[in-house]
Amino acid sequence: MTEKLIFEQGSEGRKGYSLPPCDVPERKLADLIPEEFLRENDPELPEVSEIETVRHFTKLSTFNHGVDTGFYPLGSCTMKYNPKITEELARLEGFARLHPYQPEDTVQGALELMYNLGEDLAKIAGMDKTTLQPAAGAHGEMTGMMIIRAYHQHRGDSKRTKVIVPDTAHGTNPATAAMVGFKAVKVDSNSEGEVNIEALKKLVDEETAALMLTNPNTLGLFEKNILEIADIVHEAGGLLYYDGANANAIMGYARPGDMGFDVIHFNLHKTFSTPHGGGGPGSGPVAVKEFLAPYLPKPVIEKSGEGNYYFNYDLPHSIGKVKSFYGNFGVMVKAYAYIKALGAEGLKEVSENAVLNANYLRAKLRDVYHIPYDRICKHEFIATSKYLKEYGVKTLDVAKRLLDYGYHPPTIYFPLIVEETMMIEPTETETKETLDEFVETLKTIAEESKNDPQLVKEAPHDTVVRRLDETTAARNPVIRWEKEK
């Protein structure tokens, strides 16, 4: 490590603050707080000066890799650039300084924005009604599956306990099904990388609650038989859930609602260009067809005859609240700005360029990396290190070597049905120059694998830390710092 932990810096008694003298009589803690709640030892806090603190965290921030610092082709995560203007808009005082307890008539602008965003998302999805509450994609999935469960229960159909999930699905799909109390059942893919229709027909029955599907799937391929798939599930009385993680490939061109899906979640932090993860927070709105609207989380935002916006809590069949207040509002502002700035034509262009970039990379890489499904893909595709196997180089090694060249590696070892895979999603915001450089780098790594495999197998060499021992970390995790005795 080139930077010590903050606990290992400073010296005893050093402080980064000075307080004015106390001007009220001092009282013993024990007089104010019951003894059993008082700690016996002082907390082991860092004892550092202000400048040590500032330098420490500033230095750590330079170790980050983000889409603002470099290419980030992390498959199924849509790490597109987030326009800075949307940050500025979310910081407008009228948005940023709102309080969720303010009376409705003082927050009409915010409610209007949320209402319109819900309408826009429903339009893009081909659905009827939206909730903006869920705070992330997986949270949206859970909300959607709770809606499906509520729908079946309300009809008195309590034997629907199975949720069908393809073997290419995002891991969150089966996890969500289980979390909501369903049994996840796997349906295999065919040799084309799409859902095996015959296998699906055998699986669906009167116990099927839903099919969860990503389209395009995690191989980056569009499920061509989606209408037939939807019919099979619907005829058995089940519903269709659309995992919107890959929506960046089809926006403006195809609508999940038209494909027969009943529920969808979007990841605003993927498709609609708001920041991811720790820099987020996220947002996973859920849109449904009209017949499922009564089960949406409450409150929903409605528009009155006089043009006023209000929270409607009068939803007796609602699954209830899934988030404190109304969701991550700042994220909604950014997504709304993105949608309005691009417009319908602009959103189509986003999908077009995302798909074009992925296909460009696929075509450029096929001589050096094995492309298991080498046909027109959507916004992402998978490649493997099969051709490097004879040199003892695995996909993990290629990914680690990419770090030396300043790239965030693609998603690796997913989807599970292809060995040694990497899943590459360039997104629409990257230039041809960036893509060309990335191709050259991957070609260089293939050359290195041939001529100097050790160099690749021991990578990374030029990063803050070298290759980490993930095995020991997983087998014997040390997750808390402790002071040396």
């Binding site: 993990l396 690796i412 070892y413 997913f414 599970l416 060995e419 993930e470 095995t471 997983a474 087998r475």
Partner: protein, 127 residues
């Protein structure tokens, strides 16, 4: 790498027949493809499984995978050593790294399994 005295499944488990019981683990190929195994989840003794049903999971630094019962039956023993030392699955997949022992309900199911030669051919085809 694929002992002659064992039977094999398409899900890369091996089966060792010992009278009316079978011992089950994952093959050399399976542990190699998974990479370093960091966690194994096993069923409890007396649990019953149908052939093809998931009886546990094996987690490596790359992925979590299900383990499927090659035949129907009741669990008679589990290898507790691999719970504490999952590395045994990598270092000794056919001996110290075994997973479970089952009492077989229907011995005809054993005929469906592959022998060593057939399994190796299957692996080549999968490539």
């Amino acid at each position: 790498m694929y002992p002659e005295n064992l039977k094999y499944t398409k899900d890369h488990e091996w089966v060792k027949i010992e009278g009316d019981k079978v011992k089950i683990g994952i093959t050399y190929h399976a542990q190699d493809a998974l990479g370093d195994v960091v966690f194994v989840e096993l069923p409890e003794v007396d649990d019953e499984f149908e052939a093809g049903e998931s009886f546990g999971t094996v987690e490596s630094v790359k992925a979590v995978s299900d383990c499927y019962a090659p035949v129907s039956g009741k669990i008679t023993a589990i290898n507790e050593d691999i719970l504490d030392s999952p590395e045994l699955v990598n270092s000794s997949p056919y001996d110290d790294g075994w997973f479970i022992e089952m009492e077989v309900t229907d011995s005809s199911e054993l005929d469906q399994l592959m022998n060593s030669e057939e399994y190796q051919k299957y692996l080549e085809e999968e490539e």
